[in-house]
């Protein structure tokens, strides 16, 4: 085993002094912390209440998903993709299936595309609702908005359980389509849940949008400029809140998204309040997409009839496939050497790359704002560390 000798930049936050010879305080937030959204650690240097430096520490949930995928077959990695961003398992499946379909040139029948869109947009709904709930809990509202969000999430999880067999880890997509078709009566029940959703959104908006405490704590906090967002590879609602008009559903037009009419909400300030509002508005657009998809879904096969999964060996080559996951741009990069296992399997995690700017956003803010900023970035440690 060759070990490389290299210059390591040892990073110890030595005791620093600020202006006026005031000693600065270093605190360690996490990895066990009520508001860090999982096992995440931040080394923060403070001058009183103001943040001077912030270095995130990752790896507490590094489960070497990519190494395991090199010893599994292509389909064998599908259940592992559920566990990447565990709030949105079905969109992870979709991104992986899309990448493999690009690699091997597999086509997807129309009904399967509609099923994928329905599953993906339902996932987006429950992810954004829970994110707003978690953000409000971190701001101190003791879980009440989170309870409302989880009430809606339970309705959607019931739909997923009827469709895929599991509440969370659905393992629903296959290369060339979906695993199983809709059970009888599912569309009616889903139609009822989706028709009720705008009422929940109205309730949420009435309680939260004009809320003084929320506005005071989140407006002009953690402002992300447009240029930095593009340079740092920020994607998803966080980039759109800074005014970057880039939604992969509209740019790549993957799957059948060009058949649906929906708008893309953009923010202008790039602060925490804008990120919160963008997600609230995106939920309304998702409801619109769902209603159009459930109205137009055709009959037909749900998986490509030419696709044979036993002995699936894609030709040597590589492919990069990406979708607009609820957190941002989720991409899979696959390198094949003609064998049943991938040679290199890489997940492009939106949460990790959105965290690139955490230090820039937090420097100069108060300690209490770190939690609000982190909550608005929307991270899930299963995806950050893989």
């Amino acid at each position: 085993m060759s070990t490389v000798t290299h210059p390591t930049a040892h990073f110890d936050l030595e005791p620093m002094t600020g202006p006026g010879n005031v000693q600065l305080l270093e605190i360690s937030m996490g990895p066990q912390h009520p508001s860090t959204h999982g096992v995440f650690r931040m080394k923060v240097v403070l001058d009183g209440e103001r943040v001077v430096r912030l270095k995130p520490v990752f790896g507490f949930l590094h489960r070497n998903h990519e190494k395991i995928a090199e010893s599994e077959t292509y389909l064998g990695s599908m259940p592992y993709t559920d566990r990447l961003d565990y709030m949105c398992p079905l969109t992870n499946n979709w991104a992986y299936a899309l990448a493999v379909e690009k690699l091997a040139g597999i086509e997807v029948p129309e009904r399967a595309e509609y099923l994928r869109v329905i599953a993906g947009e339902l996932t987006r709904l429950q992810n954004h609702a829970c994110l707003i709930g978690f953000l409000m809990q971190d701001l101190g509202s003791s879980g009440t908005p989170l309870m409302y969000a989880f009430r809606e999430r339970e309705k959607i999880l019931d739909l997923f359980e009827a469709l895929t067999g599991a509440r969370m880890m659905g393992n629903y997509m296959r290369f060339g389509g979906c695993r199983v078709d809709l059970p009888a009566g599912w569309l009616e029940q889903a139609g009822k849940v989706v028709a009720d959703f705008p009422r929940f959104l109205d309730e949420y908006e009435r309680l939260l949008v004009g809320n003084e405490i929320l506005m005071d704590r989140t407006q002009e906090v953690g402002v992300l400029s447009r240029e930095l967002a593009v340079s740092a590879g920020i994607s998803g609602p966080m980039a759109r809140a800074s005014g970057v008009d880039y939604d992969i559903r509209k740019v790549d037009r993957y799957s059948i998204y060009d058949r649906f009419t929906f708008r893309v909400p953009l923010g202008s300030h790039g602060d925490v309040y804008d990120r919160f509002m963008v997600r609230l508005l995106e939920m309304r657009e998702s409801v619109g997409i769902l209603q159009q998809a459930m109205r137009d879904i055709p009959g037909g096969p749900i998986v490509d009839p030419k696709m044979k999964i036993r002995g699936f060996r894609p030709k040597p080559g590589e492919a990069y496939g990406r979708i607009e996951a609820p957190k941002g741009e989720l991409g899979f990069y696959l390198v094949s050497d003609g064998s049943p296992n991938p040679y290199r399997y890489r997940v492009r995690p939106p949460s990790l790359i959105n965290l690139t700017v955490l230090e820039d956003l937090c420097v100069g803010q108060n300690v209490a704002d770190i939690v609000a900023i982190l909550g608005s970035i929307d991270i899930v440690m299963g995806e950050v560390d893989r």
């Binding site: 990895p31 096992v39 949930l61 590094h62 489960r63 070497n64 998903h65 010893s71 565990y86 880890m169």
Partner: protein, 213 residues
């Protein structure tokens, strides 16, 4: 105590019990868990505390963020080797009596990520575990069931004698050594006083039985 005598006395407004029942009743009815979710199982744990499944009716009213104020640590999710020393430290900081529930396949034995170089193959290598909940992730009802089993077990613990719980037994340790980061792995890889696994019985050709040593 005679049951009929108990009933007669209670009709007169005199309530009798034993010290063990009273002591255990107080402890089972207010087990406060530590706010400690690692991965996907944490989401099901949160769902178990929300309005639909409501763990608060069983006494887990608040999830405490500080280990000094908690009785129960629900290790929900994969424990990686980078996180393992912090888990053991948190366990050491909890005051007695304390219990550990290992929720999900990953915390029991590494789960689907067992092949991982950074995955600890079960948290019971370093700390004693009272209950295991299999599943990936286990449903919130399974967590409620585990809670009820734990309550029953606490209720049956005698206060004296050989089977008394750990916090009443001065000889039993309540803090366990914290592993260090080595160059390739944690050192030590397991706590040998705590985890004594049966060796794999190497199968003869043609059979695939393995059992206890």
């Amino acid at each position: 105590m005679d049951e009929t005598l108990k009933n007669e006395l209670s009709k007169q407004g005199i309530f009798t019990t034993s010290l063990q029942e009273l002591y255990n009743w107080g402890r089972t009815s207010s087990i406060w868990p530590l706010n400690f979710g690692l991965a996907c199982c944490a989401i099901e744990m949160i769902a178990a505390t929300m309005a639909r499944y409501d763990l608060a009716r069983f006494g887990a009213e608040v999830f405490r963020p500080s280990p000094r104020q908690a009785d129960l640590m629900i290790v929900a999710g994969t424990v990686t080797k980078k996180m393992a020393p912090q888990v053991v430290r948190l366990y050491n900081q909890m005051p007695e009596p304390k219990y550990v529930i290992s929720m999900g396949a990953c915390a029991i034995s590494g789960g689907p990520f067992k092949q991982g170089y950074n995955v600890l193959k079960g948290i019971d290598r370093y700390i004693p575990v009272d209950l295991y909940i299999p599943g990936c992730p286990p449903r919130p009802e399974a967590l409620i069931d585990a809670f009820m089993v734990l309550q029953k077990r606490i209720g049956e613990q005698p206060l004296t004698g050989a089977n008394r719980p750990r916090h009443l037994n001065a000889g039993e340790p309540s803090e366990f050594p914290v592993p260090r980061f080595g160059e390739h792995d944690l050192e030590p890889a397991k706590n040998p006083d705590l985890w004594k696994p049966p060796l794999v019985q190497i199968a003869q050709a043609g059979t695939d039985e393995s059992g206890n040593h």
